[in-house]
């Protein structure tokens, strides 16, 4: 009995040291629906595939700027319609095949193919054709100049050419060229990646592997990282992070989110068809109070673009309606010809932080001439009502993007695919169309500044807050950098000390 116990202890000890020094144990909250980088868009898939299993021609760094990845450099023709990319040398796929220009062409073709029906296809809408000039050079010809193209290419993973017309092959068993390769997926249990020995940067990765443990219960994830069973909780919200702040052995990395919270309004029916009522709602909100009360101080008020996008975002001082005034709100309602409190039902995304925010918003609106009621359905029902514009107004969160074009265009252009507000503003449409084709950075910036001003106070959305995004890790985890788009690509530089 005693001998047996000793042997067990030895075996357990041996197992523990080899595992903890090499494989980074992470805990994430949900199972991804799949791992095909051209088909998945949810964050819980992105943080497993993006920059870890897969790379694109370009990448987004921690400052949200576009940097080279599989393309080591590129030239743009003077008319802005031809891009020539030179690929890094020595890149191989996890299945052993060399990564060549033909794979890049096939990957772009796969995303644009009707049959694959990739949700990323619209990001390549400007591409007319892609050609392999030689094994290491790819030429993209565009229909019209496209300023956001280089940023968009960061989200287009390069896959082996053999998958060009294979729709299901990558969902369960991804094959990329990134620093980590897929090893095992125990459904609802974990997803494990191991070091890709043939990675083109020989110095990376430093870890032997990554293990994404799927742990749905928040309390369990917290105990897991404080006790050291998990070395990292990637991309967590303020509520969880602040509970871990100051715990011995735990460190937090943080950055401002691209995603924001908003009150979205249906401009196709009363009362929010009237711009004055929309402006009144903006004045009624006290954004600093929302940050304090619902985000525990971990966030900032923000306009149509995240303050994290330093190259693009206007300071909120430029938006008069961000100075809270209940009296001004009531004046505007009077000017809009409204008598008595304006009754509105707010459809609320059933997520804890959003529910907290909605309650603060409700109280603020009710002090400024509105009579707001909350309707908190279950997620499936929310999505359906949201998608069908079946609301007066909704309280939710919207994912931003690293280039303003992508998210502005689909969200606020008339007929945009996520323009559930039914907003149509000819000036905004014109600005968005011209900025998209503009290659001069200064002119683009000016166009998006006008868009921000047009949207901020009487647009279809009252932009509220940008929260802090956190990653919690054990103190001995080194070299990790958090990125607002939730990519974990810096895990390639990460090490775990003793």
């Amino acid at each position: 009995m005693k001998k047996h116990g000793l042997a067990m202890a030895l075996a357990a000890g041996l197992f523990a040291t080899t595992a903890s020094a090499q494989v980074l144990q992470m805990a994430v909250d949900g199972s991804p629906a799949g791992l095909d980088p051209h088909l998945v868009t949810a964050f819980n898939s992105i943080q497993i595939v993006s920059g870890t299993i897969y790379e694109g021609l370009t990448a987004i760094d921690a400052n949200l700027r576009t940097v080279p990845a599989l393309a080591k450099s590129w030239d743009i023709s003077p008319d802005g319609k031809t891009y020539t990319f030179r690929l890094v040398e020595g890149a191989t796929f996890h299945n052993g095949a060399k990564l060549e220009a033909a794979d890049v062409v096939a990957s772009l073709g796969r995303v644009m193919s009707k049959d694959i029906a990739s949700p990323l296809a619209s990001r390549l809408a400007s591409v007319d054709k892609a050609e392999a000039k030689d094994a290491g050079t790819v030429v993209l010809s565009l229909k019209e100049p496209s300023a956001p193209l280089l940023t968009a290419l960061a989200s287009i993973a390069i896959v082996p050419r053999t998958f060009e017309s294979n729709k299901d092959g990558l969902q369960r068993a991804p094959v990329g060229s990134g620093p980590f390769k897929f090893k095992e997926w125990q459904p609802n249990g974990f997803i494990e990646l191991e070091k890709h020995a043939g990675y083109h940067d020989k110095a990376k990765p430093k870890l032997a592997g990554l293990k994404y443990n799927i742990v749905p219960e928040s309390a369990t994830r917290q105990v897991g990282v404080t006790s050291g069973q998990y070395a990292m909780l990637p991309n967590i919200d303020a509520a969880t992070a602040l509970q871990l702040k100051g715990k011995p052995g735990v460190r937090l990395a943080e950055t401002l989110e691209l995603a924001y919270t908003l009150v979205g309004m249906n401009v196709s029916k009363p009362p929010f068809d009237n711009p004055k009522v929309r402006e009144a709602l903006n004045y009624a909100l006290n954004r600093s109070e929302i940050v304090q009360a619902a985000l525990f101080g971990a966030g900032v008020p923000g306009g149509p673009l995240s303050p994290a996008l330093k190259d693009w975002a206007l300071d909120v001082k430029e938006f008069p309606c961000f100075t809270h005034s209940a009296a001004k709100a009531q004046d505007l309602l009077k000017a809009a010809g409204v008598t008595g409190p304006v009754a509105v039902t707010l459809l609320v995304l059933p997520r804890q932080d959003i529910k907290d925010i909605a309650q603060v918003v409700q109280a603020q609106l009710n002090k400024a001439g509105f009579k707001a009621e909350l309707k908190i359905p279950e997620l499936g029902a929310f999505v359906q009502d949201w998608r069908n514009s079946n609301f007066d107004a909704f309280v939710s969160t919207n994912a931003g993007s690293t280039d303003p074009d992508d998210y502005f265009y689909r969200t606020f252009r008339s007929g945009g695919s996520t323009n559930v507000f039914k907003y149509a503003n000819a000036d905004v449409d014109k600005l968005l169309d011209s900025a998209r084709a503009e290659s001069d950075a200064g002119k683009r910036k000016a166009a998006y500044a006008s868009v921000q001003k047009a949207l901020a106070c009487d647009g279809p959305a009252a932009f509220m807050t940008y929260g802090q995004l956190f990653t919690a890790m054990r103190a001995n985890v080194q070299g990790f950098g958090i990125i607002a788009n939730r990519s974990l690509m810096t895990l390639a530089d990460t090490t775990v000390g003793q």
Binding site: M8, A12, A16, A27, S31, A33, G34, T41, A42, A117, P119, A121, S122, D168, Q171, R172, Q186, P187, N188, G189, F190, N213, I214, V215, P216, E217, A219, T220, V223, G224, T226, S227, G228, Q229, P377, E378, L379, G380, A381, F382, V383, Q384, R387, R410, S417, T418
Partner: protein, 314 residues
Amino acid sequence: MKLLASRLADLLVVLVGVSVITFLMIRLIPGDAVAIMLGANTEVTPEKIAELRARLGLDQPLVSQYFQWLGGVLSGDLGVSIWTRRPVSQEIGAHIRPTVQLAAMALVFGAGLAVPLGVLMARWRGNRMNALLQIGTVAGLTIPSFWLGIMMILLLSAVAPEAQVLGYVPFTEAPLESLKRLALPAFALALPILANLARLVRSAMLDALAQDYVRTARAKGVSEASVFFKHALRNALIPFVTSLGIMTGYLLGGAIVVEQVFAIPGLGRLVLGAIAERNYPLVQAVVLVVTVTFVGVNFLVDLLYAAIDPRVRP
């Protein structure tokens, strides 16, 4: 034989009833699979929605959807998961082992400890230890297992921070590690059953001890131990065996919560996810499997009951 046939007929009625109810319930909650699937997608058009509905067979009338599904099940085909496009039987196969192991361990804990505990409680009736045990069992019945689970994890992380208690290791890969990981969740799951069964054994023992045959045995000069264990306990175990069958229902329901807390990739996690995604075939199949298990176990218990208690035999 007649007993067998009538029980089998009951079983069939239950299964059909449950399948109809599940089929309707999952479809009656607002929000459908297609809307959720396309939720975050940036290129949704009404044509795309219609096309997807048609591909999934969701554009058919409910009645024909039901019979199509029933036909499949009867020929051994549980359908395909809407989200992963993998056969439902494969998804269930990948998730059933942790749940079975968890339930089995909980049953061993619960039933195994309940008998000695119940006997002790009967033996100590009226003294202070009994009062303590009584309070303990009431607590065991009322503490929700998710809360107990979180408290146990917190406690253990304070006492033994190196202990690995979260997640699941297959029994076939590392039997000891597997048992170690599931010990805590199994205990959290077992506690209500343990409390329930112990109280049952206690009252059945007290009943049995008041019977004439016990008085007769004592009058014959049979030793107290023999009276307790041979005469009283054997009779007291009859209701115990019956409720064991009912307890499998608790176990399977409780497993959903406990798997969530302890990050165990079992059937509970599978079905929770499937409900959130409106993955109709998967929800239907899991509920069917759980129902068949529950009904099957109770069927076995009925047979067992007939075996241990001659009076039940027709």
